[in-house]
Symmetry: C2
Subunit: 226 residues, 2 copies
């Protein structure tokens, strides 16, 4: 099969480390930082699904708002006292998540090969703009696509369709890269070639579909161009 002509990356969990808030969470709530980071992330994702499935976007809220809602739920669930100051601190940290260190070299290698690059993310444009600038990735991305344009989150097919629309390419000519198993799964269903970057040595989803390839970090993107 020909090499992909474009590579689209998931952002949260893939380019940016959603668990890097754990350190601040641990400072705020000693002994509970890891539990809070995990539950916060799980709830944030759950909320994207609830608002997407229910009533075709009528209950849509931007990712930033769902992230805040997830934080509030997680703190209540873990019986942690989330003062307004701590909430602001943690949300501000979420705006400035650590980028995984190999991001830049992989994006640079793709640009050198003339491959179109982009982000296709649940994040709203404001969040993505800050994250991309903070990580110094702005010049290395041809597309920064947010599902906010259609008010439906991944894994809705319309969300994945933003990538084919923006690049003008058919799905099979695009490589979609995600560290989130569910994202790699649904992108495969959509028709993309997919790389699941299995950073945490997890099993893949048991839904009778496999990603095109499985890798260990973002450098494995480059195996599609050898």
């Amino acid at each position: 099969m020909n090499q992909p002509r474009a590579v689209l990356f998931d952002a949260y969990g893939t380019l940016f480390d959603v668990y890097s808030v754990g350190l601040l969470a641990e400072q705020c709530f000693p002994g509970q930082g890891q539990a809070l980071a995990v539950l916060w992330r799980d709830k944030q994702i759950e909320y994207t699904r609830l608002v997407t499935t229910s009533d075709d976007g009528a209950h849509y809220q931007p990712f930033w708002d769902l992230t805040r809602a997830g934080l509030r739920y997680a703190c209540k669930r873990l019986a942690l006292a989330l003062t307004p100051e701590r909430e602001d601190q943690l949300m501000n940290q979420y705006r400035h998540l650590s980028a995984f260190p190999e991001n830049r070299e992989v994006l640079q290698a793709l640009k050198e090969r003339g491959i179109a690059t982009g982000i296709l993310s649940n994040g709203d444009p404001g969040m993505l703009g800050v994250a991309v600038r903070s990580a110094g990735l702005a010049g290395l991305l041809d597309h920064v696509l947010s599902v906010d344009a259609i008010r439906k989150y991944k894994t809705h097919p319309e969300a994945y369709r933003l990538g084919t629309q923006a690049t003008g390419l058919a799905a099979q000519h695009i490589l979609f890269v995600s560290c989130n198993g569910w994202d790699a799964l649904a992108a495969t269903w959509f028709g993309y070639r997919t790389l699941w970057v299995n950073r945490y040595q997890l099993p893949f989803e048991e839904l009778d579909t496999q990603p095109t390839r499985i890798g260990r970090d973002l450098r494995d993107v480059l195996t599609f161009f050898e």
Copy 2:
């Protein structure tokens, strides 16, 4: 407001105790039974959402199959050796979940008042049939509604619509009862009057919507008829 004319119950987690598999799970995998029961349930629900959101039912699998997929994932994730025998044992246990003890008296009280009763469940018809018979609830339910008819799981609005269609009543004349916060939330979005039975003292979802009432067990259904 007038009293509801019908009461529809969620099945799994509401009438039937999904965590009652924990005991057998603990026998199979000492020290891991609780963790397995929780992750199995979470994954089962996650899979209903993934297949519903992605491509309008093209990836639908019946609840039984998704339940098995969730079990397989959970065992891999927890590094538990799921032999075919253990898988059969655990799946068979899922077919015969314990019913919460107050079910019968509540359904009987509703029947005595002439209120229509039913189940509106993600479970497929085979699973629901066995569960209803095992719990001795068959004569107390006017409707046993499975989303399998439309190949979309709750929280899709079409799933909730099965209840208005079957009863011939508008949503505001129907009380929908669930122990699952997300289910009570989305049923409220759909237009039902709702009772969230908060068995496990959890916070409600942080999505700007509250159920009509919150209760502690199924007997609180009867507060709508006082």
